[in-house]
């Protein structure tokens, strides 16, 4: 069964096309990764699913019902964890969850039970009376999740739920996503952290310039990239000047640098490692290690979009 079905969806802001004739299907029980660089159209798509924006054309169906025609039903089955925190800082954790859950028609003992259950699920059961203004970033993120799941939606959209938090909270959230999925929730997950997506998503789509440019399991996507290899070179000291020089070497498709590590994406059949190393030595670069990587999602993303996920 399809939990989410997007058909020929387009959203225009004046002349700018944020979502361009997008079609997408998310099946029941999936953790679906939604990848795209900043400005690719991810958030606009999520806002359209959440009814925060109205489509210019096309339609969105949740559990086989059109969200425009069956707004109440589809919203009842949808939980949104927005990228920016959506909690009241002057209300306690309990009051926040209880207020938002109450909007889904829950009352009395059932509301209390669901509120406590959600707070317990995200590990905030001992902070029920605490105010978010006194919470750490990770605790606020977890409360943000609790507010979205207490009404037990069938589809949960998590937009960058681990941005700017400590590793402990991040692991807690990732485990929570898995648990929710085991409990029967279908999840759409977006993140800038490719390793998170690789770790938890069963299927994913890559969006660029408002269009889905690839869709499938991790293995399926990686298999499509048969002509690219990634060379990682760790330097003692990185320099941006090197990137331009490396880009000029035959067979190099793209180059990026994170801290002291340069990632070079090259045509698989071109043997240009010698040229690359020579170029670096000529520039007095102090090479610490050289490593050829197996293609992964990062390679796929860079190959397809020409950008890294964090661009």
């Amino acid at each position: 069964m399809n939990v989410l079905e997007i058909r020929e969806l387009t959203k225009k802001f004046g002349e700018f096309i944020a979502v361009d004739n997008m079609s997408l299907t998310v099946r029941e029980g999936e953790i679906f990764g939604f990848l795209g660089a900043n400005g690719a159209g991810k958030s606009t798509t999520i806002n359209l699913i959440a009814s925060l924006l109205r489509p210019s054309s096309g339609d969105i169906r949740i559990l086989d019902r059109d969200i425009a025609k069956h707004s109440r039903f589809t919203k009842m089955n949808l939980g949104i964890v927005p990228q920016d925190l959506a909690i009241y800082k002057d209300m306690t954790a309990y009051e926040n969850v209880s207020f938002f859950t109450g909007l889904y028609g829950l009352r009395g003992a059932e509301l209390r039970e669901r509120t406590e259950e959600a707070l317990k699920f995200v590990g905030l059961e001992d902070k029920m009376k605490g105010y978010p203004k006194n919470f750490s970033g990770g605790m606020k993120r977890r409360l943000n999740i609790a507010c979205a799941i207490a009404h037990r939606p069938k589809l949960i959209i998590m937009d960058e739920p681990t941005v700017g938090i400590d590793p402990h909270s991040r692991n807690y959230i990732l485990n929570s996503v898995r648990k929710l999925n085991e409990m029967g929730c279908t999840i759409i997950y977006t993140s800038h952290y490719m390793e998170e997506v690789e770790e938890i998503c069963s299927r994913l789509a890559i969006i660029d310039h408002g269009k889905i440019i690839a869709e499938g399991t991790k293995e399926q996507l990686v298999a499509t990239i048969t002509d690219v290899k990634e060379i990682r070179i760790e330097l003692k000291k990185g320099s941006d000047n090197l990137l331009g020089i490396l880009r000029g070497i035959p067979g190099v498709r793209n180059v990026d640098m994170k801290e002291q590590t340069i990632r070079i994406f090259c045509d698989l059949e071109v043997d240009n490692l010698g040229l690359i190393l020579k170029a670096l030595i000529d520039q007095d670069a102090d090479i610490r290690s050289v490593e050829e990587q197996e293609p992964n999602l990062e390679t796929v993303f860079l190959t397809l979009t020409g950008r890294t996920l964090r661009d």
Binding site: F99, L103, C147
Partner: protein
Amino acid sequence: MNILRIACKELLQDLRDRWTLIFMLAFPIVLMMILGFALGNAFESTQTIDKIHVLMKDTGENKALSEGFSVFSAEVSKSGILFEELKPGVDGKEEVRKGKYADYVELTGNGILLYSSNFIKLEHQILQGTLTAFAEKFKVGSTIAMLQPDQMEVLTSGSTDHNYIQETSLIPNRKPGAIDYYALAMTAVVALWGAMSAGQLITTEIRQGTAYRLVSAPINKGEIFAGKVLGNLVVNMLCVVIIIFFSKYAFGAYWGDHLSVVILLLLSQVIMAVSLGLAVSYIFQEAASRAILLIITQLGAVFGGAYFPFEEAGIEMTRLLKFIVGLSPVHWTNSALTGIVYRNEIWEAWPVFTVNIGLAAVMLTIAALIMRRKEGL
């Protein structure tokens, strides 16, 4: 039910916002106290006047006048106006100039002459008024004497029912003191402040990201809108009621005998102010709407006479100033409140009530139409 849930949430948040609440309550109370005491004298409605000593000279040229005046002077002496005969060799005008007497009166063949060193002084004005009343009566008497001489007795009989001094007041029941005035004016200002908080109602949800959750919940925008407006109305009305009772019991401000009508009138202004705030926040961008509402509320307060009443401050009310003052919601409400509280004229509430609710309906409609067309909240 969702409307009430959202309204209760608004109430809870506003009551927890200690600093805003303190500002909403303490500022008008402190201002009421400071202005009430500082301008206390400007509002004083009673002035005690001791006996008025008047020097007089009767030239004896008009016998009827002399006789009539004798009766008159005896009568007004009971009210504290004492006429003393000018002694020979004394200059009456000089005596008045020296401040020994309030005024100097001469009865001549041509009538009554009145001299004063200070025409603005209340004593002079009382005497002038009293003499005018006498002169009018004397003129009537003279006419009667000519036409029906048998009725002359009326003028000279010494009857004691001549009422030369009648106490009159523009507001016979009660006139507001400074604290009374500022209690009404400041409460009307607090009611108008509802526009400021209402201007932030939707933008606050957008700023803190919670608009996202509200819109994605299975409730319609109308419920969100109504719940937030209702909550804001209750909070603002609560502030108004607290100000009323605080001024009444802490400062002894007079609120009259029709408190329910007063509260109803102020509620209409709160509704109008909240609607204004919402409409402005939907029409303009956040920063612009905040500035516009600040200007409207401040000018409304100034021209509504919240900080100083124009008439009492001696400011000439030109036509333009009258027009501007007339645009201030604080002025409308304040005027109606004065009528209800001090003249028991309850009917004065209804035109203002109608205007407030009418404007509120127009502005809420504008806000609702823009909201419906807008994506999100």
